[in-house]
Structures are given as structure tokens and as C-alpha cells.
Symmetry: C3
Subunit: 137 residues, 3 copies
């Protein structure tokens, strides 16, 4: 049985950013030698998401605009009384979810034709870590 | 240790549809012989969801209406510049999530009294696959 | 290989409540002896959530207020024709998600600095169960 863990540090330049990290998942799979099982991909910081969707820049813009409508950046959150200014980023991260399980079958990421793993950053411009944990055979 | 993978193709007749697929999960469990572990159920297409909730047709209507309010079908998405018309379906899928883990204990799906696994289709009328992967003992 | 399952019953006093259950996750980990693997934490009732975010009471208030805006308690849900009055709680639970996987590495919950596991109750004042299942080595 295989267990294998890696941490990758994300460096974003903007407050909001969506990055395709599928190649990192495959790199971790290859390093682990996993042939069948799960790879957990999880954001270790609470203002970032991991989600699976299409790699399409227009859709990225739609997602960011939509998140801004549903969970807007604004001053009047209770969380800001702690000195923070990123309550919206906590909410955005919860809307998209903070982790996914990537299935691995016969040594490959077992994805449909358009599935790609993305990192969604909602309070960027600082280093943040993503954990990858492979488990299986 | 057991790993077992199956793919089931969904055939929907409407653009939006919610289907209880719990019996498929149990069928996969029985075929795999899993007594204790996890079954990942994941939508392989990026305009469909997997979620756990009550099997109640009134609630299904509420869910569809609510998703339409939060992520409406409308022309002016950036994603539509690619020729697509289903940006709302990508967003709806992200709201409900695209995968669940079903725990299995003593050879049974380990669910509370009302938990049922559902497939949520938001861009239907075409064949789409769901992946089931059992892992455990 | 280890598999270990526990059920914890939550007793809430209010309709909406957010509780940090990270210490329960660690207790389950210690009991299981898990050194490397996953702990699934999943709400067995369909009007409650499990999510990972900051332990900060101001943020809890923001989350509850925000959920109320996106999925308001109101009479006119179809689900209420069954005699229920909690359709909003089903929707709130789906927004935040009903389960998380906690990675365990070298005998510890493998979390970033602010990650804490929370139970979100949206139809409280009745006993409800949470399932913890550890799997790994």
C-alpha cells in the first residue's frame, strides 16, 4: 500500500487568481508510483479553493465575477473587527470548496474529457501551500 | 486491500434533472465486496454534480429554482464567446459540488436516515459518465 | 492497514450553530492509531454541514448572515408541502458542503495554520450524528 505526501507553495501576483494545477497532480502521482487509488488535493489556507472545472479563461472570468456577486468584498463584515479585511475570501473559498479527490486508475488521473484541477486564490500576493496526499496501491 | 472502479453513463431527457443514484452506489459496493472503506462518486463532466440530500421531489424543485436564482442561465457570460451556452451549468455544478465520499461500514453504505446520493444534471440530453471507485477492505 | 469508525452525536441549543470539532477529529485519530492517511468527517443528517475554516466568532456570524441571504428561511418552498419547514437548511448545508477529508501525516492532522474543522447546524435543537472514518496505516 502506498501513501505519499507533498506540499506545493503557490505564489500569486493578484488578489484573485485561478490556476490550473493538474500537471502538479500528475507529477505527484508519478513520484508516488500510485496505480490505483485517490489523490487528495487540499488548500491549507482558508482563503483559497481547490475545484475541478474546465480550463477556459472566459469561464475563469465568469467564476470570479459570479463569486464577487455572491460573496462581495466590502467593509462591513464582523470578521474585520479582528483587523482582517478578507472575510469575502473566506466565503468565496467555501462556495467553491477547499479540496478534491482525484481518482487514479491504471496509473492515470481518471478524468473525463474536460476535467482539470484548479487552485482558486481569493486573497493572494502571499505564499500559500497546497497539500497532495496519494493513497492506494 | 480492495480497489474497484466502475463507470455508469447517465442519460437525461431534460436540461436540468436530479436523479437518486444510491442504488448504483450499493450495486458497486456489492460487486467490489467492500466491507469497510470509502466509495468515491464523482461526476466526470463539468456541468453535473454529485451531492447527498433527501429524496423528496418538492426539494428537487426548490434546489433547481434556487440554483437558477444564484447562477442564472443568461447570454452574457464570457464563456459563451467560445461558442458554448452553458456557463450557468458550470457554476451550478460548483455550487453543489461534483463528488462525494460514501463511507462503508460492515458491508453497508453508512448513511443517516435520509441521506441519498444524487446526480444533478445542468446541461443534459447527452450521455455523461459518473465514476465510482471503492477502496478499503 | 487501519480502518476505524466513530459516531459522535451533536446536541445544539439553537436553530443555527457553528461548532469547532477539530478536537474530536484528533481524538478519533489517536484512538485509531492512524499515522498516515485520511479521516472522513461527514454529517449524517441532511440539514447540517462539515467545513474547514478559521475559528473566529466574527466570521461565524458573517457565515450565518451570508447563508441567510443566499438561502433564506421562508415559507414558500415546495419541500414544505410535506409538512417540513426546513428547506432553507437543506440548501444552506449544500452551500457549505457536508463532508471533509482530513489528511493525517506522521501521526498528526496535517493542517495549515488556521484550518479548523467545523460542524454547521441549520436546523438544530435535536440530536444529530457525525461520522468519522479513519483509513490508512
Amino acid at each position: 500500500m502506498i501513501t505519499h505526501t507533498e506540499y506545493v507553495t503557490m505564489h500569486t501576483k493578484k488578489r484573485y487568481e485561478i490556476l490550473d494545477i493538474t500537471d502538479e497532480v500528475e507529477r505527484v502521482r508519478a513520484t508516488s508510483g500510485l496505480r490505483d487509488g485517490f489523490i487528495l488535493v487540499t488548500a491549507m489556507h482558508i482563503t483559497a479553493s481547490i475545484f475541478v472545472n474546465d480550463r477556459e479563461p472566459g469561464l475563469y472570468k465568469d467564476v470570479v465575477r459570479w463569486l464577487e456577486q455572491l460573496a462581495p468584498a466590502k467593509p462591513d463584515y464582523e470578521h474585520h473587527q479582528t483587523g482582517e479585511d478578507n472575510a469575502d475570501a473566506h466565503l468565496k473559498r467555501m462556495l467553491l470548496g477547499h479540496q478534491v479527490i482525484v481518482p487514479v486508475t491504471e496509473g492515470k488521473l481518471d478524468f473525463g474529457p474536460w476535467e482539470r484541477v484548479h487552485y482558486g486564490e481569493f486573497d493572494g500576493r502571499r505564499p500559500k501551500r497546497v497539500l497532495f496526499k496519494a493513497m492506494g496501491v
